[in-house]
Symmetry: D2
Subunit: 402 residues, 4 copies
């Protein structure tokens, strides 16, 4: 009722995660689904001053053609998820959300993401970074005006960009901005342009991907200067989540991990992008550091991610953990995780939007480290133990009762 209307702006708005999050939001608004999978719906957060699902309106940027309905149909056909009736019941709202999606940017996304782009994206190919940011900001402001939302939360759920090891950036926003304006800074990836566009407008930014986004110190300074907040990096949905509860167990029992091997296979569009070694490198990096950080020593680790078309959105991970027990005895834990990626990620994205909206409303500024439990590589937080990360979230939320 009196609750403010809030905009959610997805980067990668027709991708599997955004499409599923959009469908899920509509299903929640229509009372067609329960709250399973939604962290912010847990009893622990029942008295927290979170905006209700009814308040949200969706828009976004996208580089592909197609429609939300087609993305969902693809997930249904290839991955055997969603009740067809649920999608049907939301068709008109999905079409409305689709009409609020604008062309994004392909800046330094690499050839694999580039090959997915719709022909229309051509017209932006000669933009300078400054021009791109301008255009993206126009889209964001237009969305806020058209939907009359009080606040917009921007979430990056686009495919993983290649990481540029040679990228050297100024740590100060002033220098950074000057180089943007004089056109000498040309190598920023799209994710950072989106982050700058949002944060410069005071809109909070969530980086659910391994891409660079708001990581550079200068962009973090921008967020603080504009009095807004951001969170990241790379949603912790499956195998890494397991690592963040199992590694602390081995540590607490003084069982020495000898090696930890994790093989991931899946077949969605995200997987196809990760099949490009340049894009994959970013991903593996965020997945591989956690075990060492929790254990405090350096066992041999291996993380692979491979594109297996037939699996569709079903991320299947096999982890083999070899550990040493008392008197030098080697033992083994193996696990197989069969989770549907979009359906694991989408509710976390919606939760993050709610929590970040609260933080923004309460005028929190800079990195939101209390949201570390949602991320593989939590910005602003050295803690990787999931249980402790989750305690931080609960503790923070307790301070914001209705």
């Amino acid at each position: 009722m009196s609750s403010p209307r809030i905009g959610v702006w997805f980067i990668g708005a027709r991708g599997g995660v955004a499409a599923t999050a959009t469908l899920g939001l509509l299903a929640l608004q229509k009372g067609l689904t329960d709250s399973v999978g939604l962290v912010s719906s847990l009893p622990q957060f029942a008295s927290v001053d979170l905006v209700p699902w009814q308040s949200f309106v969706v828009g976004g940027h996208e580089i592909r053609s197609g429609s939300l309905s087609e993305s969902l149909s693809r997930l249904h056909t290839e991955s055997h998820v969603f009740d067809a009736a649920l999608v049907d019941a939301c068709q008109s709202e999905l079409a409305a959300a689709d009409s609020r999606i604008r062309g994004g940017t392909l800046a330094n996304c690499g050839p694999t993401i580039g090959s997915l782009a719709c022909p229309n994206m051509q017209k932006f190919s000669h933009e300078s970074h400054a021009e791109t940011i301008d255009r993206l900001q126009n889209d964001l402001r237009g969305f806020q005006t058209a939907t009359d939302v009080e606040r917009v939360v921007v979430v990056n759920v686009a495919s993983t960009e290649p990481s540029d090891e040679n990228l050297r950036l100024s740590d100060r926003w002033n220098d950074f901005d000057a180089r943007l304006k004089d056109g000498s800074l040309k190598s920023l990836p799209a994710s950072s342009l989106y982050a700058i566009a949002a944060l410069d407008l005071g809109m909070p930014f969530i980086n659910f991907t391994p891409s660079l986004g708001a990581n550079p110190a200068a962009i973090q300074e921008l967020a603080e200067t504009r009095g807004t907040c951001h969170a990241g990096q790379d949603g912790k949905t499956g195998e890494t989540l397991l690592k963040s509860v199992l590694a602390p167990m081995f540590a607490a029992r003084n069982l020495q991990v000898l090696s930890w091997v994790g093989h991931n296979i899946f077949g969605n569009l995200d997987g196809l992008v990760l099949d490009d070694p340049a894009n994959k490198a970013s991903k593996v990096k965020t997945k591989d550091q956690l075990v060492k950080s929790i254990l405090g020593y350096d066992p041999q680790t291996l993380v692979s991610i491979e594109y297996i078309r037939s699996l569709g959105d079903w991320k299947t991970a096999w982890d083999h953990i070899h550990f040493k027990g008392f008197l030098g005895t080697p033992m083994t834990l193996q696990l197989t995780w069969q989770g549907c990626d979009s359906l694991l990620a989408a509710p976390l994205v919606l939760d993050l939007v709610r929590f970040v909206e609260l933080a923004r409303r309460k005028n929190e500024v800079g990195v939101l480290s209390q949201l570390g439990s949602f991320f593989k590589r939590p910005l602003g937080l050295a803690e990787h133990d999931f249980s402790r990360q989750f305690s931080l979230l609960c503790h923070w939320a307790e301070q914001h009762s209705k």
Copy 2:
């Protein structure tokens, strides 16, 4: 040096766990092994006023014939554990420990445990409960005198007894004791007789098994009356340990567990005893409650334990967790645990002895709920989340710095 000498008294002193714990203790005293697997050796406890490994002397009760050396040899041959050189290096100390082992009691242990007993046990078969307790106490006092230890910690690591569903006991020690003395109480299991013998002498008692032990209210009252402490029940070594870190993860992510199936197979003597349905019932009960307790609702659960001779001490567990994610999507986590039971249990037993010794020395009385992280069914603690249980231990230990 100036550190007091402490006695460790094992019930089931020649079983796999006690034999391994005895060997491990000797190996630690001789500097032949590192501290892997020992919780009390973690950095978190480095400044806690724990007694060093050098201080401990081992004795115990046993109902089988044989020797510690034979038990270890059996583990080596059947389960391919231990370096033969390690056992060789400890032979004389093992023989000394063997000489401190006395005949236990078979009271209400059921036919399966009874069939393992050595002929000598016959001579105790007509004892009343009161006579048995007297005899056990004589053994404990004799051990303390002969070894000149300051304090004795009693640990039950014997095979699981059948549980007697019809056992109705008085909740007050006075009534209970009166019935012991007049001979009308005849149905106490051995584990409770051991507990009474120890606690009545002021010696702390640790119940590492699913057996009844010190659980009855009257026996707990005895502990308090005598100013001593106790802890239990049923060491959390493998599959249940995993449940106690994974179930909280599902809870914190609001992923609804639909069913949790756990099949355990192993082939040691403990497994042979559990092959008797009466004995198994006790075990399954302590393994099966935890998931529901952590989740706060009641998914279908199944726990099986089966004796597969060829596996020896290698407890292999397959868990299949079926859970529902966002928009009703069913997903699956499977895990296989291949752990050597005795080598997982033995260090925890040694850790418990150290922690309980500290509590006794600091005059803590009654149930030691801070030790809940060690047990499948923690006495005095409703919390089953391993991470929180471990925090309790760390918090308590911090208060007892050297």
Copy 3:
């Protein structure tokens, strides 16, 4: 075209297997599915004189109420199988098949199957065996007349009956028949009554279940006397199929199997029936003999089947095979099978109908041992090695080219 029309009569016509087979048959007739999963569609059988899918008309016996459409809907909702569009496209044909289903018999089916029966079944509760057989034969003849089919193949795909260990039957049909007629034989299970009804009319009978069916010698004599054929027992769809290819591998490599543990979990109606220990005993028996038969020695084996509601039709099996290699080294193979039971069974049922129809047409009499590759416990065949069983089928088929 000129191909004769053939009737398929399902015992348990609205169960998961029969409903799926009926749907599949319709989908094949309408060209809505490909031939994946159908053995008889393999290139090896392309020139064999098998009747085309177009020729078949479905009817059957059932003891439950409901409809084929409801059975399929239950599978779709609970087990996430079938494209809804496929079921929709076949609704009128499904309704027609439904109209050809008659009330079966509950004779000696036990209370668990009995509890599933529709109230209408009451009216048959006082029938003698002879009266039941008469009634069932009327149904079969009526179906043949009404649909004008040249031949009827009867297939038992009903839930597993309890096995009666004390059942003592005459080995000669004359004696058997006399006792049926004088009413002194009262303890035959339903599956045998169905078999007698069919075989006595010269109709071939396929027993796809672990139930008794045509196993008794006297009933086999009846088949021979009437010049018809039969095949069984218990369709080999998943875990046992794997055993029948893996056990020969261990044998051929002289790797000694120490133990073979198989835990099966699933949640369909069949599973609910098997949750009754009396019914389960029949099933476990047919699953557990194969390993020993192939290996030629007797390793410890364990087979469990447990009803886990949430899994629906998804039979999940974990097998743990412990084996000894060169110089006494123990090694391990584990496997997890996640197969949808109805969709594994249904095509085999359709294949069996085609192969049995051919055998009947060619006037083969008695047990069809060449169909052993389809069964866990192949009647008339001591060979359990799948590869050799399949060679028998191929060899037989070669003799019946078009």
Copy 4:
């Protein structure tokens, strides 16, 4: 007794496989082990005219320093295999075998294998191919003379060489030989030099590795010219063995394999060599072709082999097989294989020596295709179905009764 003495010459004589085979042979000769793991000891071959284990004498080529005893000790310590008592009982015979090991060749073995070589190998670094072959032949003749064996069987069990995609060789031995003699052929890998040395002397050659060996047409012609025989390539010990029984099962049931992923991890020296991408390529190639060949179509396949130090000789493989059943239903089979590589390979090597010795004695010439069941990539045989391959072996053996 009257049985002829036979020489076994291992290429890679101190590697894990050869050291284990040598130990195993000694254990068989001394009656210290049973025949588990030995194919040639199966009842099927009881009446075949195979040379008894007593007849064999071991020698070989090696490029590393160390001793057989050290190799076995390393396996014992790192991989927890072998009873120490068994190795002790064979020490003097092992030393004798060690004294019969000569320096091999590093020709075109690549830097990873080169880095393992002992300094003594330096002295051979300037040899031409012709000189190397001469030297190797001197070693072989010297062994035959010194041990007075009737026949020598040469077996390559060295680490996998890199494969040279650009290697273009003449198909005729005359041209090939001419280029060897004039020194213009310089790029042959060591495995081919060993093959030429053996075959040219009329000694049969077994290639148990993925290396090139006797594959070139000209070398095969040499074998035929010299009236000797050879067999290969790449021993089928674990994951690929499983594929060769499971793929035929999917084919026979018309279940369409959508993808077959196999991840292999292990930590022995062979694994270290395979950690070099150039060497790994040879291996993956022989592992990856089989599934397509058996199925007759081309599902997506993935094979990875990774070096995980802590696993030692324990090859652990996870296979994920995604397949389509009736009505388009995707299903899954997963398996985990935990096998000790040397102990799986060694008995097969001994079996091959026996079978090849028989073939040589019976004057069989050229490729021995009847031995295809032993190899991942069977020379001279298009059949990959293990069951059929094994039938070929049995059929051949039947023709050679004592």
